[in-house]
């Protein structure tokens, strides 16, 4: 049934083929972002003994669409003292890396846009480029609150990028490759074969740093609703604001995907050997991503916000030393070829 379609696809020029693949990734991603906002409002709503949006469409299911339409038609206000060029460029700088990083994410065996050998480095590079959007937005707005947000974000990203980088070194040591597909393949097997177990501290640190890097509660000091109003995007409205919003949620999904791929066995099933549910499939990856996204929301509903200097302390004095120590421990694991992971 698919043969004629596939034959037609194979005849297309390479550029069109790549564009098709990009669309296949980006479109569901955007839909995912839209419905992640809905899920967030609903799930946090239920955690807070309330109902959440339930008016637009059946049980509120059209709420994200309504939000998107509203934001698209709102006026984009350019503050008179803002740097107009940078003000408009900042949201673009913020969403670009959030989307580009998806190029190297393997969704299944061979389901990957670009099978880079330096995939891990590429991801690390792009996730840290995202902060430029925040810094430039804060600076270009020419508002004190936005500026404070940008400064906080800049300081925070330095601390957490290092911890994150070290956590990724741990994965690199375990898998012996920077290729994300190979990293997943190295974890083939059941729940206990995945890297979360031998790299447990790194797994936790990577995920927490990921929460910090996406500026989500309890690390949302760059936004700091009750302190600096909305931080870096306080002056943004309409579509420019929406783009920041999209970038934040796309980044959340990205961090969840990367955590699933590097520590939770990517597309492998936790129960290998059992028919149907034991098969590796893209659905397992999606399930894992959803689980980590749920954690993002759960944190937001539970924790108070850290103060800015406390985040710094956590990053520099706890996470970075811990990752370094665990890298040494892991070195020993690799040397003695421990268990199913390093054999």
């Amino acid at each position: 049934m698919f043969d004629p379609v596939m034959a037609f696809y194979a005849d297309l020029p390479l550029v069109v083929q790549i564009l098709t693949k990009i669309m296949i990734i980006v479109m569901p991603l955007m839909l995912g972002v839209a419905y992640l906002t809905f899920a967030e409002r609903k799930i946090i709503g239920y955690m807070q003994v309330r109902i959440g949006p339930n008016r637009v469409g059946p049980r509120g299911w059209l709420q994200p669409i309504a939000d998107a339409v509203k934001l698209m038609f709102k006026e984009i206000i350019l503050p008179s003292s803002a740097n107009r060029f940078l003000f408009v460029v900042a949201p673009v700088l913020s969403i670009m890396p959030a989307l580009a990083a998806w190029a190297v994410i393997p969704f299944g065996d061979g389901m990957i846009l670009s099978n880079l050998d330096a995939g891990l480095l590429y991801v690390l590079a792009l996730t840290s480029v995202g902060v430029y959007g925040v810094i430039i937005a804060g600076w270009a707005s020419n508002s004190k609150y936005a500026f404070l947000g940008a400064l906080r974000s800049a300081a925070q990203i330095v601390a957490y990028e290092i911890a994150m980088g070290f956590a990724l070194v741990g994965v690199l040591m375990a898998a012996g490759s920077l290729n994300l597909e190979k990293i997943v393949q190295a974890q083939e097997g059941g729940f206990l074969h995945w890297y979360w177990l031998p790299l447990f501290p790194l797994f936790l640190i990577y995920f927490i740093s990921g929460v910090a890097e996406t500026n989500r509660a309890p690390f949302d000091v760059a936004e700091g609703e009750s302190e600096i109003v909305a931080g870096f995007h306080v002056e943004y409205s309409g579509m420019t604001f929406a783009v920041f919003f999209l970038a934040e949620y796309a980044n959340m999904i990205l961090i969840a995907a990367l955590t699933s791929i590097m520590f939770m066995g990517g597309w492998y099933s936790p129960f290998p050997g059992i028919p149907v549910i034991g098969e590796p499939s893209v659905f397992w990856l999606l399930a894992k991503i959803s689980f980590f996204l749920l954690l993002f929301l759960w944190f937001r509903a539970t924790f108070p916000r850290y103060r800015y200097d406390q985040i710094m302390r956590l990053g520099w004095k706890v996470f970075i030393p811990l990752t370094i120590v665990w890298l040494v421990v892991e070195g020993v694991f690799v040397y003695v070829k421990l268990g199913p992971w390093f054999a």
Binding site: I44, M47, Q48, V49, R50, N54, K144, Y145, L148, R152, A217, P218, D220, V221, G224, E225, S226, E227, I228, V229, R300, A301, T302, F303, P304, R305, Y306, R307, Y308, D309, Q310
Partner: protein, 417 residues
């Protein structure tokens, strides 16, 4: 070298953590506060002046609007001042009702405080949890006075009317089925006292629930411990009252020190803090909610078995009964005079203070013998506390300003008056 200037940040009045209309001019070095300059008056309505031009009873409603989260306590101080000038005895049942509603109000206030304070610090779920219980107490306000917020329930001499036998109930709607409504109304079938009894039984578990989210939470502790420390001597010197002074370790509470109404018959404890920081004040207020719950329970038990009048009979400040008015000319005249020109109080002055949820709330009233006060001065605890804001936040970071504003439990209705 270029001279580096401190940054001046205008915090509010339109700010999510400004608790209404606080305008703070912050002088900051990076994120560290060098000086905080609170600007007040954006919610000034001239309550004191308004009270001078109205008969005594017509100002009760203005008192609700001072601290609009602890309405009946404001009324209480005002009616107590009038009673002291008039020399009216309050019937015992009315005293119990007042004490009960003072404590209901204290819980209402502290629930809003914990919700707003936690929301400021970033724990937004607390807000919704606190409002769930607040809703029930609001319904008690509604049952007794018809209004959920600005009750105007207390009167010089007692309270407006006796406790009602019915509670407001939920109605089925497009969003709520009959079965759901039946479940929601389960504890509303009886009288208001039954409802409060039920509330008292389940409320301690609710406070435990709030505490599981915050008390041992590392982030919460990092954000509140050693923030805004006020030592006991300084707290006295600054004129702190209420949880602010008790958080610093001084067991000052008007309910114990100068018992009014029937507080001397109540069994309750005064929680005090040790370090005088935001965390201690948090613990003090959480414990106060439990203690208030105990007092409400004692009042409910007493009110169930002891009937009686809620206004002094035959007094000039109380309206005559409807039956008397049908046949008695004097009663009819009294009714007309009371609701048109009010009553005249003897010359003199009086100060009445209550232990308001935020501290000592006092009314100083001078009468020149007319039917309205010559002068009313409102002693609002929030005004005193905000004066200490600068010294409490100096040297802390921007995020701590929000914690300190939260811990002072500021409401601008009373600060600006």
């Amino acid at each position: 070298m270029a001279e580096i200037q401190n940054m001046t940040l205008n915090f509010g009045p339109q700010h999510p953590a400004a608790h209404g209309v606080l305008r703070l001019v912050l002088e900051m070095e990076g994120e560290v506060i060098m000086r905080a300059d609170p600007h007040i008056g954006l919610l000034h309505r001239g309550t004191e002046k308004l009270a001078e031009s109205k008969p005594y009873n017509q100002s009760i409603g203005y008192m609700d609007r001072l601290d609009y989260v602890s309405m009946m306590c404001n009324e209480h101080a005002y009616v107590m001042a009038v009673e002291r000038l008039a020399g009216v005895e309050v019937p015992l049942r009315a005293q119990y009702i007042r004490v009960m509603f003072d404590e209901v109000t204290r819980i209402l206030n502290h629930l809003l405080w914990i919700g707003a304070h936690a929301l400021d610090i970033g724990a937004m779920t607390m807000f919704l949890y606190a409002f769930r219980e607040r809703e029930d107490l609001m319904d008690c306000y509604e049952a007794v006075s018809g209004a959920r917020l600005h009750a105007t329930y207390y009167r010089p001499g007692g309270v407006y009317r006796d406790l009602p036998d019915v509670m407001p109930k939920y109605k089925a709607s497009k969003w709520r089925s009959e079965a759901e409504v039946k479940k929601l109304n389960a504890n509303r079938e009886g009288s208001m006292l039954d409802f409060l009894d039920d509330f008292c039984a389940r409320f301690p578990a609710c406070v435990d629930e709030y505490e599981t989210l915050l008390t041992d939470n590392r982030i919460w502790k990092q954000r509140t411990v050693n923030i805004g420390v006020v030592d006991p001597d300084r707290a006295v010197a600054l004129g702190f009252t209420g949880p602010m002074i008790r958080g610093s370790g001084i067991a000052w509470d008007l309910r114990k020190k100068q018992p009014y109404e029937v507080y001397d018959r109540m069994d309750f404890d005064i929680p005090v803090g040790v370090n005088g920081d935001c965390y201690d004040r948090y613990l003090v207020r959480m414990e106060e909610m439990r203690q208030s719950n105990r007092i409400i329970k004692q009042c409910v038990d007493w009110l169930r078995v002891n009937a009686g009048p809620v206004m002094p009979e035959g007094s000039k400040v109380a309206p005559p009964s409807r039956t008397d008015m049908k046949g008695d000319m004097e009663a009819l005249i009294h009714h007309f005079k009371l609701f048109t020109e009010g009553y005249c109080l003897p010359q003199g002055e009086a100060y009445a203070a209550v232990e308001h949820p935020k501290g000592e709330f006092g009314i100083y009233m001078i009468s020149d013998g007319a039917n309205k006060p010559y002068r009313v001065k409102i002693r609002a605890p929030g005004f005193v506390h905000i004066s200490a804001l600068d010294e409490m936040v100096r040297g802390h970071m921007l995020a701590d300003v929000v914690s300190v504003i939260g811990t002072q439990d500021l409401v601008f209705g009373e600060v600006d008056r």
